[in-house]
């Protein structure tokens, strides 16, 4: 019974069907299924599948985003149940995301946020045009494990270095790890500014984030 339901759950994520994923999450509660197992054995399977498909060029951005949204919707239904049980879904890590100061591009960063959330990270997305002190302030406030910074312009990518230098000055690294991304960001740049991780795309960013929090195998 639950096997069949797990399959439907995974499929609802693959289809990006939030209505169905919510309905299935509610059904699992009625059936007294354990919410954590429901997430892990059902919905997460779908997210992982679509992520792999995207990486292989078989799935496309709208599918990836819709899957992420359907995942978020299902988890939102199940989280109160977890709390009732006195449990919480194990958070992979807390992440602050932002596009750096002077830059208003955010499609890529938003995608990273969606994928990280879908993969079990708690994401606080500050939005665009965020100065270093606001990014660091929010990271301290929520006790973030990772700061993720995006920049689309060669003129604004230097801001990523400013944030890292500021963190180093305050002695906040390696407590807080830094991920960078964006169209002009290369491996050379990532090494030059001594960031902790970088990825070309949202699926890769999840892998990097997991490595940074020491959960690469999950």
């Amino acid at each position: 019974m639950s096997e069949e339901l797990y399959k439907q759950m995974a499929q609802s994520i693959i289809d990006g069907d939030s209505d169905l994923s919510i309905e299935l999450a509610k059904k699992s509660i009625e059936l007294n299924m354990h919410p954590l197992e429901t997430i892990t054995n059902g919905f997460v399977v779908g997210v992982n599948y679509i992520g792999d498909q995207f990486g292989a060029g078989e799935a496309f951005l709208p599918e990836l985003v819709m899957a992420g949204e359907a995942m978020k919707a299902a988890v939102a239904v199940l989280e109160p149940e977890l709390l009732k049980l006195g449990e919480a879904r194990e958070i992979m890590g807390r992440v602050v995301l932002a596009t750096v100061e002077g830059d208003i591009h955010e499609i890529g960063k938003t995608l990273v946020g969606t994928m990280l959330s879908a993969s079990g990270f708690e994401v606080t997305d500050l939005g665009v045009d965020q100065p270093a002190d606001k990014i660091i302030g929010k990271a301290l406030e929520i006790d973030a494990h990772i700061i993720g910074m995006s920049a689309l312009l060669t003129t604004t990518m230097v801001r990523q270095r400013e944030v890292i230098e500021e963190l180093d000055k305050e002695g906040l690294r390696p407590r807080i790890k830094v991920m960078v991304g964006g169209a002009p960001i290369t491996r050379d740049w990532f090494q030059k500014i001594k960031a902790d991780g970088y990825s070309e795309d949202a699926v890769g960013a999840v892998k990097v984030a997991k490595e940074l929090v020491g959960k690469a195998d999950q």
Partner: protein
């Protein structure tokens, strides 16, 4: 709404038709086939017994145009209609009868043999952009007498798609009709659901050769579709002006249709060609010239006025390599052909004035064809409102808002053509990581993938054996007791 390209006014088309009728009477059409002359004479044409020039009155053309089918289908192996000749339907197939193939490693133009035709068939079979296969190259490793039939044999064994083919003698066209009947089950079945169409060429200016006219008659009687491939060359074998060339093309097609319909009224025939300009510096016949595409667009417009199904030769290049010239000539001319609403556009994969074929070019041309087909798909109305319906309460003025909409997922594939890996849309980093390849390099990889993924279709074993025995007999008569080894087909 399918976007259309037209180059001629109604008034000019009327003048083309009028002068074409005049050409049929003066200077007339040279008909080098006895039976065709007899058919024409019996129907009222005046034949000069010495010069074999026939004066064909307009009334014969009018009568033929009354009986010729306005549309018909070609069918795949399973009997499904897969190609529609008629209206503004647009299909593409690889070019035919190449004599060399581009070796992707040495860049030499190698003489074509069995393995090369099979390579092209395997690639084209898996590309949905090609609605039909063609007998793409001549196999020089079998006796000349069986080369036409042998090409068709290889296509029948390796493909399920409809076939654009042709024969260089009257004898082989009969053999090929027999072969198609073996696969269809009977001659009646082959007529009922034709799998193949045969290109038949008049010789410019205004000549129907012995074998060309003979093939028209044989095909008409067998009920196997024929495709007139009139090849006027502006400035050499046709008037230098485009309108003069199109008028000569019209007269040649008229004469062909008359002979064909006199042999068997109601048999399917297509208004086609491989018109080209004549290059005055090199004495060449450039298939990639824009004027060549303009000639084809123009004669297709004439055909459509008469309600005839259409064919042309576009999507080819005169370059010797799969390079930038190949891309731009093939892409632009494929687009013109599609916008002209031409039912069958042959020529993809071909280099060097239709002499050389290339599997790598086939995969690259498939991308140009996909663009052309997307173009004629037009700008569609998918939603009740054009835009306002997209802005619901979830819109928060962020760039990614529309990525989250279900309708984006539902419609993006219809709105956007997703190209294969031949088209580079990677970031510079990803492109470098993949080897910094140019289009030809990526095409080579794609061909390797397609060759690896090809599986010969499952066909009726008994028919395969009959077909094999048929061609083996022909080969033995021609002095060769064994056929070349086929990797995917070894009859018991």
């Amino acid at each position: 709404m399918q976007p259309k390209l037209t180059l001629l006014s109604d008034e000019i088309i009327a003048r083309i038709l009028d002068e074409a009728y005049q050409l049929l009477m003066k200077p007339g059409i040279k008909v080098q086939n006895t039976e065709a002359r007899e058919l024409l004479a019996a129907a009222g044409a005046v034949i000069d017994t010495e010069t074999h020039v026939a004066q064909i009155p307009a009334s014969l053309v009018h009568k033929a145009l009354e009986t010729v089918p306005r549309e018909f289908h070609l069918y795949d192996y399973d009997g499904n209609p897969a190609v529609h000749y008629g209206g503004d339907s647009v299909h593409f197939d690889p070019g035919s009868s190449g004599i060399t193939i581009l070796n992707p490693e040495t860049l030499e133009h190698d003489t074509t043999e069995t393995e090369h035709l099979i390579r092209l068939l395997k690639v084209a079979e898996q590309l949905p952009q090609y609605d039909a296969q063609s007998t793409a190259v001549i196999c020089h490793d079998v006796p000349k007498e069986i080369q036409d039939s042998y090409r068709l044999y290889l296509v029948l064994l390796h493909s399920k798609k409809p076939i654009v083919t042709g024969a260089f003698t009257n004898k082989t066209v009969q053999e090929m009709i027999d072969m198609l009947a073996i696969f269809a089950g009977s001659k009646e079945a082959a007529r009922e659901k034709p799998r193949a169409i045969f290109d038949v060429c008049p010789a410019p200016p205004l000549i129907w050769s012995n074998f060309g006219a003979g093939n028209l008659i044989a095909l008409a009687r067998a009920g196997v579709p024929a495709e007139i491939v009139s090849v006027p060359l502006s400035g050499a074998a046709a008037p230098v002006t485009m309108l003069g060339t199109v008028t000569q093309h019209t007269a040649e097609c008229f004469a062909g249709i008359v002979i064909h319909q006199l042999a068997h009224a109601g048999s399917p025939i297509v208004w086609g060609g491989a018109a080209a300009i004549f290059d005055m510096r090199k004495g060449a016949t450039p298939m990639g010239a824009v004027e060549t595409a303009m000639l084809d667009c123009s004669y297709a417009q004439v055909a459509k006025t008469l309600g005839m199904p259409t064919h042309t030769y576009l999507g080819a290049t005169d370059s010797k390599l799969v390079d930038a010239q190949a891309g731009l000539e093939s892409g632009i001319s494929a687009m013109v052909g599609a916008l002209s609403g031409i039912n069958m556009i042959s020529g993809s994969g071909m280099l060097d004035f239709l002499a050389c074929h290339s599997a790598e070019k086939l995969v690259m041309d498939a991308e140009g064809i996909a663009m052309a087909k997307r173009m004629i798909g037009g700008v569609k109305l998918h939603t009740d409102t054009l835009a306002t319906g997209f802005y619901d309460d979830k819109i928060n003025f962020k760039g990614g808002d529309f990525l989250k909409q279900k309708i984006t997922m539902q419609l993006f594939r219809e709105e956007q053509h997703l190209p294969s890996s031949v088209i580079d849309r990677d970031s510079t980093r990803a492109w470098k990581a993949a080897g910094s390849l140019d289009a030809f390099g990526r095409a080579k990889l794609r061909v390797k993938e397609l060759l690896a993924s090809y599986k010969r279709p499952e066909l009726d074993t008994e028919k395969e054996i009959r077909l094999h025995n048929y061609i083996l007999e022909l080969s033995k008569k021609a002095g060769a007791h064994e056929l070349p080894f086929l990797e995917d087909f070894q009859p018991a």
